[in-house]
Symmetry: C2
Subunit: 358 residues, 2 copies
């Protein structure tokens, strides 16, 4: 069994902490190890490091190398351009197939939070059995909603198709984009919907066959790359081919249109750490419902998230329900409802040529 | 005619820009020269530098010396301890009397904004004539209220007692503390109230006589200092005597109880630059009613004051009616209604031993 950890994103949603040179997966937003290191650690005992590929963007080669000292160098796949998850997963599957023939491969985002780590390991330990039940199917891990979230995609489960090792494999009836609150509440109440965790597993032949049918342009690119994989020509080949691959997610490009998609419930708490709002779920609040991290002082302030990374002192006086995040060189003041729009702010900084803060 | 500019305050209300080592009067909060330098410049052509005393706290000796290069060194009066305006004015009057006998002396705060500077000069050019009309009286300059301010003290004028050089000198009927909004509106509507500008003038003998009657403890201290004024023993004498002088304002300690207090209208726009709210009166607003100064970027933000002194980038996303002020090492987020309470925040920093930010 192999794994690919997808760490090629450039996420701007945690600006000013996340920067072009150091996006979310390389940060310790909630304390502890950086999210990518935590993701890697969750696979310990399940998949050995020489079977774990990590895909990163070339801008982050150094920070990734520092973080991934135990990973064989050839397992760090450096993408020359941001291309979303479909090219990333296609490339990883091709590499695995080239190295070891067709195998089961687990695809994991690098920047999510999972509690407890054992929950994921336990779930993934059933992947082989599940895949053996239907080797041509594509599998996703669904999370039973803990509340009616509007920030996640949902999966409507169909009938149970398989019962292996005490876990149930369901058909996926349909995928659903982030819903409105009313719709999220209906999903939540029905009990038939899972959150889409973005964690997938399948055989390399199954995913590559689906890529060929749904994303022929991507399949063609992968064919061009095939002779150079794991050779000293690989970097040059990637530089030539990768930027021309379609920029599309595996969900949208493949899963939502594939015939045989299955979902298995993951019995663990999961959070995609999507915006600065997330701190309120993971850090303790004080008696005024403030979440405080780092060098911060609040007077007559309530319901705020105050976060300072470094020595810059953040102070709040008489304010309510704000999110205030500071780094040594920049501060963001927003509200929970606007936290999803941090990328708009980052776009504005780009427009204003404030590149030193990006 | 002499002047004393009172620059001994340690004001915390403009934290994080104002610090213990550099309070408001040494800063350019609204752009241009530091407020103290502007105050000095307003006297140009009216009073020569060798007749202008500037009182400062000893903690600010260096910054003051840098700013006041043109002032004769003996005119920089260094107070060894914060003691409010009564000791400061008493000491300045004693020094002037010692140097030149009894004279008319103008007392000015160092950290207010006045437009146009000529307005003040024009007003002060009548002081001699006014004082000659009643040399035993104490004179204040009142400002006709521009709006029903709740942040200023008020003066109710009594009958006109004198008409000199085309200006009217009124009796002061009473002084009034900062009013509630309802009371401020009544004051404003009546047309009989002035704002108390904190600018005074009088003869040294008049003020020292009043000090003797109302603040005997202060008069006694000034008597002890008298033999050492303008000698090389002065600093030692001040260190011994000044800290024991009563900590009281000239308004509260003398003017509110004196028999003959007069008010003259100052025909100029005046602002005591009391809190971060003041920026909204002096800096232009953008099309979303945001006041922006320095390195700031706002997206979908309105009615905010965004101020960055230095390179720290301040960003606001989807927020309303906040005041956000940053320096390289600290940021304050508050609201206009809470801006008066910045001192509470500074007190909290002191309590938390965050001295490096004070």
């Amino acid at each position: 069994m192999y794994a690919v950890i997808m760490a090629g994103g450039e996420g701007t949603r945690f600006w000013p902490l996340s920067r072009a040179t150091c996006p979310k997966q390389f940060l310790s937003i909630l304390g502890g190890e950086p999210l990518l290191a935590q993701t890697l650690a969750r696979l310990e005992g399940l998949i050995p490091p020489d079977r774990i590929l990590v895909t990163i963007n070339r801008k982050h080669r150094e920070v990734a190398q520092r973080l991934l000292g135990n990973l064989p160098p050839k397992n760090l796949i450096v993408e020359p351009r941001i291309r979303d998850t479909a090219p990333c997963i296609g490339l990883a599957a091709s590499i695995v197939r080239q190295r070891a023939g067709d195998q089961t491969i687990i695809c994991l985002p690098s920047d999510h939070v999972i509690h407890p780590p054992d929950g994921l390991r336990e779930c993934l330990s059933h992947t082989e059995a599940a895949v053996n039940g239907d080797p041509a199917a594509l599998y996703t891990i669904g999370i039973r909603p803990a509340y009616p979230a509007t920030g996640y995609g949902y999966i409507l489960r169909g009938s149970a198709v398989q019962q292996v090792d005490g876990i149930t494999v369901y058909e996926v009836a349909s995928f659903h984009e982030k819903p409105s609150m009313a719709v999220a509440e209906a999903y939540f109440d029905s009990g038939d919907y899972f959150w889409n965790s973005g964690i997938f597993f399948w055989r390399t032949d199954a995913i590559l066959e689906n890529v060929r049918r749904r994303l022929p342009e991507l399949a063609e690119g992968l064919d061009q790359l095939a002779p150079d994989l794991d050779t000293d020509r690989m970097e040059t080949a990637l530089a030539r081919v990768f930027p021309r691959l379609p920029r599309i997610s595996i969900d949208y490009g493949v899963l939502e249109q594939a015939d045989r998609v299955r979902v298995v419930e993951g019995h663990f708490a999961w959070d995609d750490v999507g915006t600065w709002r997330v701190l309120r779920g993971h850090l303790p609040a004080d008696e005024h419902a403030n979440i405080k991290a780092g060098n911060v002082v609040a007077v007559d302030t309530g319901g705020c998230t105050l976060y300072s990374a470094g020595n810059h002192l953040v102070t709040a006086l008489g304010v309510r329900d704000l999110i205030i995040v500071a780094t040594p060189d920049a501060t963001l003041v927003t509200t929970p409802d606007n936290a999803e729009r941090v990328r708009d702010l980052v776009a504005k900084l780009k427009e204003r040529h404030l590149d030193r803060y990006l």
